[in-house]
């Protein structure tokens, strides 16, 4: 995480280090820095939401309106994508959105660990979404949920092929959902680190180097802004796609 010498390892920030080693049988269940920051994400989000809504002002304070706007934002997103019937999933979608957003933003603080740059974390989140879709879809519609894989108006001969393609397309959803979030956060943080490394290595070259180091410094400033945008955007995209997938569970045959 820190820069030990002038050589910078841009990947080092993603290393998982056990803080409290725990072993259960053959399994390593250590409390790691990833666990710590996931816990921090949940605590920060809960405390923020609790404190800002504690006063329950009729005229919201600034912080209360931030919370209310987040609520409205997610609610309208879900209503647009999945209809009013989708609102039963509101707690789920809201939690996902806030968790991803807060985890992304916490990762922007220097020396902090970025939880969402771990593929297993994002994959677990997206599997949660897809399992919800599958379980709820079958619960609600039974075998009718399988209509999702059979588009109307396809010639009978082509049906097996089309169904195979549709199933692969469906299975690729959790993969693309998790890879997108993970890749965005990973790539962004590596880029930041690499450009920050340029400043240090150029700066050690004397006066000319220091003058040249202004360029990567400007780049790092710009990239930091971009990363904040990406942090919001990816949380938004994750939530929007969750809503769209939930819509499939609610209405398998449009």
């Amino acid at each position: 995480m820190a820069t030990e010498s002038t050589t910078v390892d841009p990947i080092h920030q993603f290393a998982i280090q056990p803080i409290i080693p725990i072993r259960v049988g053959d399994y390593d269940l250590s409390f790691t820095n990833a666990s710590l920051f996931m816990l921090a994400t949940v605590v920060v989000a809960s405390v923020f939401l609790y404190l800002t809504t504690a006063s329950r002002g009729l005229l919201p304070s600034r912080m209360q309106s931030v919370t209310e706007m987040t609520y409205e934002f997610v609610a309208s997103m879900l209503r647009d994508a999945a209809g009013t019937g989708g609102m039963r999933f509101f707690p789920f979608v809201f939690s996902l959105f806030v968790f991803v957003l807060v985890a992304n933003l916490l990762g922007m603080i220097p020396f902090f660990f970025t939880v969402t740059a771990q593929i297993i974390v994002t994959f677990a989140l997206s599997m949660m979404v897809i399992l919800t879709v599958v379980v709820y879809g079958f619960m609600k519609h039974g075998a009718g949920f399988l209509k999702l894989f059979v588009p109307e108006g396809v010639p009978m001969i082509l049906v097996p092929l089309v169904v195979a393609i549709e199933i692969i397309s469906f299975l690729s959803r959790p993969v693309s959902l998790s890879v997108r979030l993970f890749a965005n956060m990973l790539a962004g943080h590596i880029t930041l680190k690499v450009f920050a490394g340029f400043i240090i290595s150029l700066g050690s070259l004397g006066a000319v180097g220091i003058a040249g180091a202004v360029l990567p410094l400007l780049m790092v400033v710009a990239l930091t802004g971009l990363e904040f945008l990406v942090a919001f955007l990816q949380a938004y995209v994750f939530a929007v796609l969750t809503c769209m997938y939930l819509n499939d569970a609610l209405h398998p045959s449009h």
Partner: protein, 141 residues
């Protein structure tokens, strides 16, 4: 505190009376406010949709991840199929090609060139008046 209020009240007396007598005027103003708010909401949501369109990098990452994911899933399924049935490389080859097709389908869906899952292949997007959908609405209402 009380002084300016009183003067304001006196000065605004004719106005207030007008408002009190003509409830139609108030309704008019409310209607106009509603119109403005609606217009603003529409604009806001349009902006929200544009977020993805504006950042080309976001779009590129989205589409490439959709495409690669399908191929990976196809390859994984093929490998598992071969592993289970011992059918040599043919399961892998077949499923990889299916995965490729699914990847193309994903991209076309993400860019809106093909209708969504389960929708009719051609024709308009039929919003579900299907029993399932209306059932839902009834329950939540």
């Amino acid at each position: 505190m009380s002084d300016p209020q009183e003067t304001a009240g006196k000065a605004g007396l004719p106005d207030r009376q007008k408002l009190k007598t003509g409830e139609g005027a108030l309704d008019d103003r409310l209607a106009r406010l509603n119109e403005k708010l609606d217009a603003k909401t529409v604009r806001d949501t349009a902006d929200g949709d544009n977020i993805r369109g504006k950042s080309g990098m976001g779009q590129a990452l989205r589409l490439s991840s959709e495409f690669v994911a399908a191929i990976l899933v196809g390859a994984g399924l093929g490998w598992a199929f071969d592993y289970a049935f011992g059918t040599g490389p043919f399961g892998m080859i077949g499923f990889l090609m299916l995965g490729f097709a699914a990847g193309i389908l994903n991209i076309m869906r993400a860019t809106g060139r093909v209708s969504d899952f389960g929708a009719p292949v051609q024709g308009e997007h039929v919003k579900s008046d299907f029993t399932v959908g209306s059932d839902d609405e009834g329950k939540s209402a």
